[in-house]
């Protein structure tokens, strides 16, 4: 699991790649801390390299989304592959995230 974060004035872009299983999710929670401090900027999560996600990964994304909504930020998921998209659909997450 690899995470990179790029911050600009308007956006915070997090690029996730690899497999986001339960063990990886615990480590990643720290690395994604900057996303909790969006200060109104748009949060973009680029999933093009993401091959697998477990519910613990979804939980982190949900935490980020809840926090962002409270600060008036938008969360956009980009380049989500079909398998992961199905997981989002089954959990109803498609309705609460924006996809690009």
């Amino acid at each position: 699991m690899k995470t990179t974060i790029q911050e600009t004035e308007k956006q915070i872009v997090a690029t996730l790649s690899g497999e986001l299983d339960t063990a990886a999710a615990m480590e990643m929670e720290n690395e994604l801390k900057p996303l909790y401090d969006s200060k109104g900027r748009e949060i973009v999560i680029d999933c093009s390299g993401l091959e697998y996600i477990a519910s613990s990964g979804l939980r982190i994304l949900l935490g980020i989304l809840k926090n962002a909504k409270a600060c008036g930020s938008r969360v956009v998921l980009k380049n989500v592959n079909d398998v992961i998209r199905e997981v989002f659909e089954l959990t109803g997450f498609v309705r609460i995230f924006d996809f690009e």
């Binding site: 979804l58 939980r59 959990t91």
Partner: protein
Amino acid sequence: MKFELKKPGLGIIILAALLLESISVMQYTYTRSLLKEELQKRMEIELAAKTGIIMNTLESAETTMQERLGDMQAHLNRPDSLFSVTKRLIKANRHVVGGCMAFLPDYYPEKGRFFEPYASKDGSGRIRVEQLGGEDHDYTLHPAYGEVLRSGKSIWSDPYFFEADSVVRLTTYSYPLRDKSGEIAAVCGLDINLSWLGDTLNTNLFYPSSFGLLLTRSGKIVGGPGRKRTSPESFHEISRLLKESDSEMIVFRDGKTRKRAFIHRAALPKDPEWDIALVNYYDEVFQPINRMRLSGLLMTLTGLLLLGFIINRYARNARKLHTAEVQQARIGSELQVARDLQMQFLPKTFPERKDIDIYGSLVPAREVGGDLFDCFFREDGRLVFCIGDVSGKGVPSALIMAMIHSLFRMVSAREDDPARIMQALNEEACRNNEANMFVTFFLGIFDPGNGLLRYCNAGHDNPVLIGRTAGKLPVKANFPIGVFTDSVYEGEECTLTPGTTVFLYTDGVTEARNPRREQFTMDRILEILGKVAGNPSLTARKVLETMDAEISRFVEDAQQSDDLTMLAVRYVEVGELVLNEKLTLKNDIKQIAGLGVFIKDLATRVPLPDTQARKLRLAAEEIVVNVMNYAYPPGEEGEVAVEAASDGKNLEITVSDTGLPFDPTAKPDADTTLSVEDREVGGLGIHLARQMADRIRYERRGDRNILTLTMNIQPS
């Protein structure tokens, strides 16, 4: 009316008590007659065996006589050599203890008027010979001697004691010996020791006080158990009864103990035509059932208490309402009671087996319709299943259903012939049927070993067989049960190929109506099942869910008027195990990566297509993580075992742990429609696991939680 308001359920309790009691009595009588039949069969076998033993002995003596005839005839001209002839006569046969040749008076003038060479064995088997005939031993006075001369045929004597005070019991075979010209020269006798007879008759008996007797044609008891087990009076009485009647089974009542007993008897098939009688006392024959009756009574009482409790609760609620409403609530609660009664008899879980997949459902109408279905595996591994529909609605039909159900359970546990089970159900339904209710009923007994399905249909709709196509199972037009006492039921059979599903339903399905009053119809059932036919990964549950969805779509918002009952039994093709792997993890999330590797490895070996592999990994991970996090108390170390097995068609992952009992399949689905703010952060994992696996089932076995995920392997 006032009384009813106070005790709204009393009527039902009384009705239920009567019903339960009548079920119990009925079970009692039925089992009793079964036990009697069983005894009859056992006795037939035992009598045949004992007859066989006696006949063998007697026939061996007859054979010995035939074999020695030549020897005897050849020596007739040398009377002195006849002593060694008698010696040879008794030597060959171990049952023979003595042998004689009693010649006609004056046959050998030089030997005097009475000449009888005689050989006998002593206790150690040594043979001694002597001449017995004489003025003091006039054998011509012996009845057997005269009888043989008169008839010219051999005869067997009744058993007698060797000497007045002897314990040795003998019988004599007397045979006319003819000389070369065909004239009778002597009457030859063989003495057979029958001392073993009493013991033989009294071994291998089924109950402690049972005993066996041998009686002569004149009814005299000549072999028995010794006086310890019974009295001379009962001997006398038994002997009288057997003389008076020639039936094979007689009931006897002991004068002293007042105990009743069955006497089964059989006669030897030819001369000497003695009777063998075996006596078994009622209290011992029916002992199992008396115990059963007691436990049945206890169960009835418990059931009534429970029912009383339920009704009491409804009644308490009802009292809070206004009088008019009370009336209504009473009707409502009676309906509820009927429904509870109906639901109580339905299987709540279905047997989990690799070779048979079963699923059933009953959606009751507002007014209980009296449908039922049931299935269970017998001890011999065969599956018994049934579906039925009681005519009429409400409490009475629920009660009839309960009665039929319990009788069905009891009879089909041991009876192999579906037609005979149906016969028994019909007789009972007719006997307790003042309301003229009848039941359409289908029952099947399926042997997964050879695929043989034996079934009997009593006026129920044809089940549907789903194989490569879907079609009606042909059934004979038998009457529904409860119509005529003398209805005859014909059973049928067919062999199912693996992969076949039997779909059963009641008319609640065919006659489901939409708001335009159109019916769902059999044709629609066949059409829908035709579409799912041929699907190798079809499951029983899937069949019912498909049908259910189609019915809901069809009826729209029309109110359901009858119970909707369906049962599917699928004969699953079981392949050989091609893969079997195990992985053990500690309850430490850091080890979860090992599971990913394990599943990926499995997926390439099976092989499992990528999409399925990802789904399986996700499902397994969610389940395993859940166990790691919650199965053991915080801080306690525990293990999670992950096992994988595949037969090439399915891949099964079994996750087990020794933690707290927890059934993830019982959790309600997470609500996935909520807004961001309302979404819980937890609860998604299990939801996902359930969605990802083709099948998920939980079982608590001993101290283990066992969760099995199944994927139907799709060809890649």
